[in-house]
Symmetry: C2
Subunit: 246 residues, 2 copies
């Protein structure tokens, strides 16, 4: 069933925001009586019926559903800004499907792209729309927030978490295979975890030293070398498997 | 370090195939004395030095490395043929990085695209090249095989495995959360697993019934709805985490 996010408190009737209204009425060609799922500001899912199409899509709330597809822990992915336009889009779409709570792009020492001023605003707005649409499709209860940090210092200062890890290739090369599972095993429902990933050229020694000093734990993601956009998706699937399926 | 696959038995000297030679000499602009890694037909990694550039790239083998980045079990992914050109390419690239051994696209009941005759040949050749390049980049010991099956019956007949599972959305909806881990826990090194995924519209009831009859186990991949190209990548990361990191 079609799902829309509406930033409204639960009430008898809810009006869809313009883009969702356009999608429901023009793309899906819904008529009065059509039933959809709405996620309101309380992150709960409600069954609702289209009650009016003019002047805009208005829906009558029928019942609250017992539907929660969120991970038991809050995951923030921090990705060194990749070179291409496509990689951040792929990361945001897939990480949303896989349950991330926040996706932060940070300008890493070896990032070749830099997002400043208006460009940064435009990029984040576009990625936020991708997150919203992926959250609807994957039936999330939350839309992940997409954010930007100017460098690693800012990232470490602004994103505290119960646990913080960095996916480090050298860690995997040295045959380290237990740090990730140790971190996952120590997490309790309601905890938060920050996972940091380098850009294409990897993290610099200075960045690794800073994270080491800040208590961020280095963890390998297995023996194969993963591309910058693949590593965060591996992490998301692994944490889902560890926390939801095993 | 740059890695190339060469289908040759170990010898003192090895000649690179034309595309790898072009890459090493023209793209990387390597000169005599440059060291690279070669994976030979025995799936082992050798350190080799460029000894001649004319008439083509010839390398002298220096030593065999103790480098094995393969999963302890052989994974075959069987994906219902997706609608777009991009999705099979994304699946092959990422599944290669994540350690798959074979990637089979099959014409599922609800597949909208169909690959026949020359188109099938062209598609598979292109995907095989993507697999080779991803295998080089991710430092695999094997290039996964990309194959095609005309339908589910052919798939089930041609791909026996120690265990066979199907990622089934309904299984997840019914709150099933233990089948995947049970299957992983039962695998021993050297075993094989086939994992079947539906196309965009999902698998048909008839296909699910056929698999049920053939002993293929239905397993959920968590509470969120994953796109057709995301589900196999979730599976690959989960099996890597389960078998290599926990």
């Amino acid at each position: 069933m079609q799902r829309y996010f509406v930033n409204a408190t639960p009430a008898d009737e809810v009006t869809l925001p313009p883009e969702a209204a356009h999608h429901l009425l023009k793309v899906m060609r819904a008529e009065v009586g059509t039933t959809v799922e709405l996620v309101l500001a309380d992150h709960c899912v409600y069954l609702a019926t289209l009650s009016a199409t003019e002047p805009t899509a208005t829906l009558k709330i029928n019942q609250k559903l017992d539907a929660d597809s969120e991970l038991p822990v809050s995951v923030t992915l921090a990705c060194g800004l990749p070179k291409t336009k496509e990689k951040p889009e792929l990361i945001v779409q897939k990480a949303t499907e896989l349950g991330a709570d926040k996706i932060v792009f940070f300008d890493a020492a070896r990032s070749i792209s830099h997002w400043q001023g208006n460009k940064q605003k435009r990029k984040i707005e576009r990625l936020q729309k991708i997150a919203e649409s992926a959250a609807e499709q994957s039936h999330r209860n939350k839309i992940p927030q997409v954010e930007y940090s100017a460098n690693l210092d800012q990232l470490l200062a602004n994103y505290p978490a119960t646990e913080r890890i960095v996916a480090w290739e050298e860690s995997a090369k040295q045959g380290e295979t237990s740090a990730l599972a140790q971190q996952f095993n120590a997490l309790k429902p309601g905890d938060s975890i920050l996972a940091v990933f380098g850009p294409e050229g990897g993290l610099s020694e200075n960045e690794i030293a800073k994270m080491n000093e800040a208590g961020v734990v280095a963890a390998g993601l297995g023996p194969r070398i993963l591309r910058t956009e693949t590593a965060p998706l591996y992490f998301m699937a692994a944490i889902s498997y560890a926390m939801e399926l095993s």
